[in-house]
Amino acid sequence: MPKLRNVLSGDDQFNFLITLIGLIMREGEMHIDDVAARMGMTKQAVRKAMSTLVVAGRVDETGFERLPFNFDWDLFDETERLAFLNYDIITDAPRISTRQASAIAAGLSYLRTLPEFAVEEEIDELITLLSSSQPTSSPPTIAYEFGTIGADVSLLRKAIMAGIQVRCNYTNQRGESTDRILEPLRIDPRGSVWYLRAWCPTSEASKSFRLNRMRSVELLSEARSAAAEVALLAIEDEDRLYVPGEHDTDVVVEVDPEAYELVAEYANVETSTSTNRGTIRVTIKVGHLPNLGHLISKYGGAARVIEPAAARDIVRIYALGSLGESIPSEAPGDEE
């Protein structure tokens, strides 16, 4: 859906209207402020919705307009409470669609992968309830199977919430294992791999660390630094793993559908679609070129670097090294 701020689409308005009717019918009468709070809308929005409601209806054979909502204007004028007199068409909250139910159920299964929610018994009850979203219930059309992730997630989350630093052991892509201080900002679960976004005081940058390469997390008493707080603000509206930096290099890559996931995590500068079986050419911003070695080689040809030449060299050398055919003078590899 296009993200038009402060404007509801016709479908969203309809959704709001039928919910509003159901809510008032369930509660009997309700103060407009409570309705607004419950639905997460402004008072003004509720008022306008009510004015749409009271004119909705039909015209009968004799030409009389039949307005099903006999809204209690007196009550509203005196007390700002909403109520209907003599209304019996929609008597309760509206059900949800199969797609809506499936989307929410998949979201619930996903939540269960988070340690905080792993023991929520109510998740199962809810999934059962959602499967009866329609009287002729059918199995969900979307499912999310949950996996497992590394340990220490709870501890890292504690650090994030408390705004403190951690010490941990981390093994980088070159296999170098070091103890380091990190200032955790956010946990980014991505399917089977989870990442910790953290401010690294040594390199003075915000980076993503794979949780499955992190060991021995230990909470420290030091608070997050001012620089880390700035970094936290910077990622607030950015859910991609790789946030472009000032010194990034523009790299043109060509990806087949099999490797779309590669570019999804980078901020795209430009995308052009070719008609050839979904292959697209994308310019991405890469902070540390040697990362491309394993990122591109992974896909075994479904992702290709077009330019710059230096990046192509990195990929070729990495692949050759993996084949054991030649040992590059300087092993390419990333920091993280």
Binding site: A56, G57, I96, A105, G293, D313
Partner: protein, 334 residues
């Protein structure tokens, strides 16, 4: 998005589709004997206003079809039927909405904690159309209770990502029982045209799969969404949507398949892969790890990321796939 921080104002768009849809819904709910299209055109406010401003029947018909689709998309079931009592030559379709399909059964309630969980579940959808649907569902469910503010996702940015363009269409096909066809590229680059009856879109081991009945192969098949390389189109055939038993059977077979796929890898100590496969406290043969896999080529992708620090002990096909992929990378970057 019906979310407080996203859209909390009511600013009707140019058309008044919300009001028309509401009037249509109320009318269709009001009479179990239903209405003919002509009756609806005369009585539903939005249509009546169109007639008054001189709209042609064609335009009305089109609008009505669009509205029916819109209602269906939002889970409102408009039932079409013809009355037996109507004269043979006067059989007209009648439309109505069964009241029990529209509202929850009496006594359906949600606890504050449940409602909170539902809200959070809606938030995990990222950059995908399902997020709109999930938010709309949450709005409706708010009529059933008041969310608590205990649990939250602070510190996490959980995201269900869908990079596959066809996912919505396949979910819709599974929901509505629409047979579809697409081109599928197997890992060895054979492109075949498949005709399938989608059952479920499922996220397993980091991948979106389509569980379905493959009409051509006359058997259950799973397709990886990222290997679909054409547009998805409907064949026009309909089928009965999947039963729980069918889905269980498909899941059982997938699990059986995964259990039967065993790989043995040798991992160089003190490397990224060594940590990845949690070999620090391993007691088996030196640096060897045994694992099950769902798809040989996905496993090959994972191992290629580790470069030369992982060697395949078995199966030989895995080593071969890894090697061929790397050779391809070398050639493509020569």
């Amino acid at each position: 998005m019906a979310d407080q921080d996203q859209a909390s104002n009511w600013q009707p768009e140019g058309d008044d589709s919300a009001e028309r849809l509401l009037s249509l819904t109320l009318t269709l709910l009001s009479n179990p004997y239903g209405f003919t299209k002509e009756e609806l055109f005369k009585s539903v406010r939005g249509y009546r206003m169109m007639i008054e401003s001189g709209a042609k029947v064609d335009a009305l018909n089109k609008k009505f079809e669009r509205d029916k689709t819109a209602l269906k998309e939002m889970g409102v079931q408009v039932v079409t039927f013809t009355r037996n009592s109507d004269m043979e030559d006067n059989q007209q379709s009648r439309y109505f909405i069964p009241a029990d399909t529209f509202v929850w059964p009496k006594g359906t309630n949600l606890t504050p904690n449940q409602l909170r969980l539902l809200e959070l579940a809606a938030k995990v959808w990222a950059r995908a159309s399902f997020s709109t649907e999930a938010s709309r569902a949450v709005m409706r469910l708010k009529a059933l209770g008041m969310p608590s503010d205990g649990l939250d996702l602070a510190g996490f940015a959980p995201r269900i990502l869908t990079n596959e363009p066809g996912i919505l269409q396949l979910e819709e096909a599974a929901r509505d029982g629409l047979e579809v066809t697409f081109e599928y590229r197997t890992p060895d680059h054979q492109v075949t045209t498949r005709v399938v009856q989608p059952w479920q879109v499922r996220h397993v081991s980091g991948q979106w799969l389509l569980m379905c009945w493959d009409v051509g192969r006359n058997d259950i098949r799973n397709f990886m969404l990222k290997r679909i390389v054409s547009r998805i189109s409907e064949t026009g055939n309909k089928f009965n949507t999947a039963t729980s038993a069918q889905l269980e059977e498909a899941t059982r077979r997938l699990n059986e398949f995964t259990d039967g796929n065993v790989a043995v890898l040798k991992v160089e100590p003190k490397t990224e892969a060594w940590v990845h496969y949690e070999l620090e406290h391993h007691t088996g043969p030196d640096g060897e790890v045994t694992l099950n896999f769902m798809d040989l080529h996905l496993l090959a992708e994972q191992i290629r990321e580790f470069g030369p620090t992982v060697t395949v002990v078995s199966p030989p096909e895995l080593a071969e796939v890894i090697r061929r992929g790397l050779e391809k990378v070398v050639n493509l970057h020569a």
